[in-house]
Amino acid sequence: MVQIKTAKRISQALWEIPTSYKPGMRVPARIYAGEKLFEQMEDGIIEQITNVALLPGIVDYAFCMPDGHWGYGFPIGGAAAMDTRDGVISPGGIGFDINCGMRLLRTNLTYDEVKPKLEHLVDTLYKRVPAGVGAKGIVRLSKDDFCNLVEQGSKWCHKNGYAWQEDLERTEHSGCIQPADSKKCTQKAIERGFNQIGTLGSGNHYLEIQVVRPENVFDKELAQAFGIDRPDQVVIMFHCGSRGFGHQVATDYLQTFLKVMGPKYGLNMPDRELACTPFQSPEGQDYFRAMNCAINMAFANRQMIAHRIREVFSDIFHKDPHDLGLEQVYDVAHNTAVIEKHSVRGKQRELLVHRKGATRAFGPGRDELPPIYRKTGQPIIIGGSMETGSYLLVGIESGDQSFFTTAHGSGRTMSRRQAKRQFRGDKLQQDMKRRGIYVRCVSHAGLAEEAGPAYKDIDAVVESTAQAGISKPVVRFIPIGNVKG
């Protein structure tokens, strides 16, 4: 547990650790959290976020979001912006699961229409969206096609009939980030990923059917703008990433960076997971191009799953997915480093913003947002634990304080082994069914690891982001069906 005296309280939900805390800190560390969440954070977070503050080129602060927890390198929930001219790029500030992220689809359907078919829907999604250890993808690709896919992301899916035009607009970076160069990825990375397109994965990766109760709409106008426009509306949310491909890209470059960071660039960090090189170095640029391929792979992966979800709903309701209103609300990335322009003390600067287990949260007016969301601000999808619920937030102007970054989920508070000791998957599944949540899972032990009490209070996380002024709640979702990898 964190000692509150370690930090200075800046406001209700913001704490600062000064540079005097650790030799070599270039900037202070700032942690977003209400008092209770802050007290519950592990000491490891303080160690890790103050390590982030040691990275060359870091601008303003090393940030940790309210769902932050102990990870490797950066804490999960960590964010740091580096100057693109003299700053570094670090795989440990992005994570192994590059562009692990969330996608939200809306429907025209209400709870009463879905309820009689709920079990059939979840069973069919479970069968048709491959999940779990060793699962193979839903399209067979040659390695050459896979290389095209990782360079083009969702655009590849659109060309091949797996995406609607508006899906691309409603995905960060239109589902295709550049520069992406598959020649910068190893053969190993390609071999690990080319048969995994359209797979959910496991662990905290899931696909959920959720409902919006009228009392959980906090801003009706914004909800409407995001397609949440009827009482008891049903939506589908899912969480997954770049699978083995992204994991291997990160692993490969972690080793490359470790070999050169000291001898070639004179960089030395206290944790090998903070391996880094100057962003403008050949190694830094190669990793950037390979990482962008993994970002694109994850966009395409979620696009293929969205396509499969539309097929399943269409089959079960005997209607075209357009008639079911199965539109994408948005797709957000969690684990990335992206070049963005930000105002730093009145001056526009180009920064490489690392977000690890954190979400971009652009306020209204940003050019990067598609026309439909330019006035509202960016929709932000916050996945909760499978028992408690999830949120749709919006980016706001005052988010510029954290380079427009907010939380990404509820954040673990209990280790996986602890959760397995405390909960039994089969019993949990029955309990959840009684409470109106129908779950299908690959493994009961895996389910137990994801039990609700293993996570922080999602309401407190969202409240902290609102108190701090880095995002604002729009809608809360209640789970009714869940497919867990």
Binding site: V133, K188, A250
Partner: protein, 143 residues
């Protein structure tokens, strides 16, 4: 059991300590600990296919990192769950060389209880050390 899972090193991921009298024994223990995160009953994996691997590194800890990474690679690239049949580590020319035979079979949800994917071996607090009793490693796996 020559490995134990540790609760005090990570919240979201899985940490373990593996031991052995020799580097080879410790490498086998670490491989078991890694695979058992995904498939708790290692005895349910039959030896139907084999893969041979050769690795080299100038540091023994990075050799272990690469070795565990191979198991994760085969799990994704070929859906293969592999156990170590034999492993040999030699040292010479300031370099460690490893050769190993891995045996196992394709992941099958009807046959194996598949709990959770290991995404990667992390280098956070990663440690290989020679102790009075032999060899020991501390590893955190990304889940």
């Amino acid at each position: 059991m020559p490995y134990t899972y540790l609760d005090n090193l990570t919240t979201a991921d899985v940490a373990f300590q593996a031991t052995g009298e020799t580097p080879e024994e410790m490498f086998i223990s670490a491989a078991q600990a890694t695979m058992a995160v995904m498939v708790p009953d290692l005895d349910s994996i039959d030896n139907l296919q084999t893969r041979r691997i050769y690795l080299k590194d100038d540091a023994i800890d990075m050799l272990l990192f690469q070795f565990l990474q191979e198991l994760i690679f085969f799990k994704d690239a070929e859906s293969l769950l592999l156990k170590v049949e034999s492993v040999k580590i030699e040292q010479g020319n300031n370099q460690y060389e490893l050769s190993a035979e891995l045996g196992g079979e394709a992941a099958d949800p009807d046959k194996h209880e598949l709990v959770v994917d290991v995404k990667a071996v992390t280098l956070h607090k990663f440690q290989v050390a020679q102790t009075p009793d032999g060899w020991q490693a501390v590893v955190i796996l990304d889940i």
